[in-house]
Symmetry: C2
C-alpha cells in the first residue's frame, strides 16, 4: 500500500480506504487507485489482515440514538457514523427513539449498562428534560448531538449551515428572476427554522426585496402543502417561487402548482431542502439544498472518538458546521 | 394497563405497545388506546418504570449486518429489527458491509468478540465463501438471513414471496387490458429474480399469453432503463406494459416513455417493486409491489431471539415468508 501511495502521490490511509471502497474517497480517486492496484497485482490479503488485527478484547461501542431509521436524512447520517467508527476500529449500537422522550431515557440507560464509550444523538421532538444526557456527561461519557441540538445543555454538536443553505437558495431564485418568494417552514421556535428563515430574509433584503408576512407559512409536509398552496396561488398577486423546509413539502407544492395549470419552472420556481431519493424521482427533478447527512455523521463520530481517545479534551464543547450545497435541477429556471 | 386492556378487549402487551407508539400496532388502534388512556388520566410513570426495569447486567446484543444503510428497503428492515429487539429487551449492533466480502468477515469477527448473542445478515453481493457464518453457527451463535439468502449453508431466513408478488402484479396488468408485458430484472442466477420471473411467466401462461424472449431484459437501475427502453418502444410491436424489479428501474421506464410522447397509463402501464419514497414522488405515482421491509426485520429478529431464548431450537432451520402487497396507483389503468 505504501508503494501505491508513493506512486500516486496520496496518503496510505487514502489507499487503504479506496481499496475498502470507502465513500469518504471520491469515486474518481477510488477507481484510479483500484485500477492501479489491480494493474500491479496488489490484492489486500484478507487472511493476513484478519490475523494482524486479531484482538484479545472487544472493540469499543458507540451508542447512536436516531429518531427514525427510515428517514433518508437520518439513515445517511447513520451511514457516515458507521463508516467513520468502523475505519477507526469502533462498532456502533443503534436504537430509535421514535420521537419519544421515555424511550430516549431508557436507551441512554441501556447504552450505559452496555458500556458505550460515548453517545451520538439527535433528540426526540418532545424531549424537554436533559438529565439522561447530563448524567452521562457527568460520568465522563462524551455526548455529541447532530441535527436536533439539545439547547438545554452546552455540548458538542454537528449542524449544517442552514442560514447559508437558505441564503444561497433564495439568492439563486432571485438571480433567475423571481421576485415574490414564499417560505414554508416549521414553527420558528426550532433552531433550524430560525436560521433558514434568517437566510431567506437576508437574501431578500440584500437584493432589495421586501419580505411579506402573507408569504410565510407554517408547513413541513406534503399533505399540508397540497392543502394550503391553492389558496396562495389563487390570489392575483401570487408567489412566483417557493422555498420549502424539506423535499417532501417542495414536492407537494410542485404537484399542486402543476395540477392548477402552472408551468414549472416558467411560471413558478420551487426549491427544497434535503436532496433525498424523492428529489430525482419527481417530474421535473427538484432543485434543492443538499444536507450531506453522510458528512454530518462522519463529523459527529470524529468528535466523539477524538474525545474518547483524548485528542479532543473531553470537557471541550466542540461545534462543527457542515456546508450545504445547492443542487440546481428542473424546478428552477 | 390491565384495566385499559380489559375495558378495550385487547392484550396488555398491545396497550403497552400502543402507549409507546409502536408501529406494530395499527394507527387506528393506537389512537383509540391513547385517547382512552388520556381520558382516564392514565400516564405511564417513566420513573417507576425505569426503576422496575433496573438491571444489574448489560442487555444482550444482536449483531446486524446490512449491505447499505441508505437504501430505503434496508433501513426499513433495520427499523423492524430494532423495534422487535427493543420490545424484547435486546439492543442491536449495526455494521454495513458496503457489499464487500472482506468487511463482512471482519464484522463477524468483531461482533463475536463483542459477545453478540446472534447475527442477522443480508450477505454482500460478492460473498461466495461462508466460513465466517458457519464458524459462528458451529459455536452456537444463531445466524438469520434476510433478503439476500446464503445458498451455501442451510440456515434460518426471512424472505418475501417474490413469486406471488410478481404473479399478482402481472395478473393485474393483464386484467387491465395489457397483453405485451416486458420484464426488467437482475441476472437469473439470483434467487429473487428467478422467483419473480417465474411469477411473471406463470401469470402470462395462466392468462393464455405467450412469454416472449425479446421482452425479457437484464436491467435493475434507472440509468440502464433509460438507455434500453427507447429501443423497445421504437419497435412497431412494442410492449404495452413493463414489470420492473424495483421502483428505481420502473421510474426510468416511466420518464423515458413520457419523454417519447406515450401517455401513462393509457398507452403504457408500469409496475415496480419496493414501494419506497420514490414511488409516491414520481408523476404519475407508481403502481408497485410493497416489500414490507419493516415486517421482514421484525420476523428476522423474532426468529433470532426465539433461538437465543430456546423457544425455537437453535439447530432448527426456520424459514419464514413475508407476504407482499400490490399497491395500485397512477401508472396502471
Amino acid at each position: 500500500m505504501k508503494d501505491i501511495a508513493r506512486e500516486l502521490g496520496v496518503s496510505v490511509a487514502t489507499v487503504s480506504r479506496a481499496l475498502k471502497d470507502s465513500p469518504r474517497i471520491s469515486m474518481e480517486k477510488r477507481t484510479r487507485i483500484k485500477a492501479f492496484a489491480q494493474e500491479h497485482n496488489f490484492f489486500p490479503n484478507v487472511i493476513a489482515e484478519s490475523l494482524r488485527n486479531s484482538r484479545t478484547k472487544p472493540v469499543k461501542l458507540i451508542g447512536v440514538i436516531i429518531p427514525q431509521l427510515t428517514h433518508f436524512y437520518f439513515s445517511s447520517i447513520l451511514s457516515g457514523i458507521e463508516e467513520e467508527a468502523s475505519a477507526r476500529g469502533y462498532r456502533i449500537m443503534v436504537a430509535q427513539s421514535n420521537e419519544r422522550y421515555e424511550r430516549e431515557v431508557e436507551i441512554c440507560k441501556s447504552f450505559s449498562e452496555n458500556k458505550a464509550c460515548g453517545i451520538i444523538v439527535s433528540q426526540a421532538k418532545n424531549t424537554t428534560k436533559y438529565e439522561h444526557f447530563s448524567n452521562l456527561m457527568d460520568r465522563g461519557v462524551p455526548v455529541v448531538f447532530y441535527d436536533r441540538i439539545c439547547t438545554g445543555i452546552n455540548c458538542s454538536r454537528v449542524v449544517v449551515d442552514d442560514y447559508m443553505g437558505a441564503y444561497t437558495a433564495v439568492n439563486h431564485l432571485i438571480g433567475t428572476g423571481c421576485k415574490k418568494i414564499a417560505f414554508y417552514g416549521t414553527p420558528m421556535k426550532l433552531e433550524i427554522t430560525k436560521n433558514r428563515y434568517n437566510g431567506y430574509h437576508d437574501a431578500l433584503v440584500n437584493n432589495g426585496l421586501k419580505p411579506e408576512e402573507r408569504f410565510i407559512k407554517h408547513c413541513d409536509n406534503r399533505a399540508d402543502a397540497e392543502q394550503i398552496t391553492p389558496e396562495l396561488l389563487n390570489e392575483d398577486d401570487h408567489p412566483d417561487a417557493f422555498f420549502a423546509v424539506n423535499d417532501d413539502t417542495a414536492i407537494g407544492i410542485l404537484y399542486t402548482a402543476k395540477r392548477m395549470g402552472f408551468d414549472i419552472p416558467r411560471d413558478i420556481s420551487i426549491c427544497g431542502f434535503t436532496n433525498g431519493e424523492r428529489a430525482i424521482a419527481c417530474d421535473p427533478m427538484l432543485t434543492t439544498v443538499e444536507q450531506r447527512g453522510f458528512v454530518v455523521g462522519e463529523e459527529a463520530a470524529n468528535i466523539l472518538i477524538g474525545q474518547v481517545e483524548g485528542s479532543i479534551p473531553s470537557d471541550k464543547v466542540e461545534k462543527r458546521v457542515v456546508r450545504t450545497r445547492l443542487i440546481v435541477r428542473g424546478t428552477t429556471r
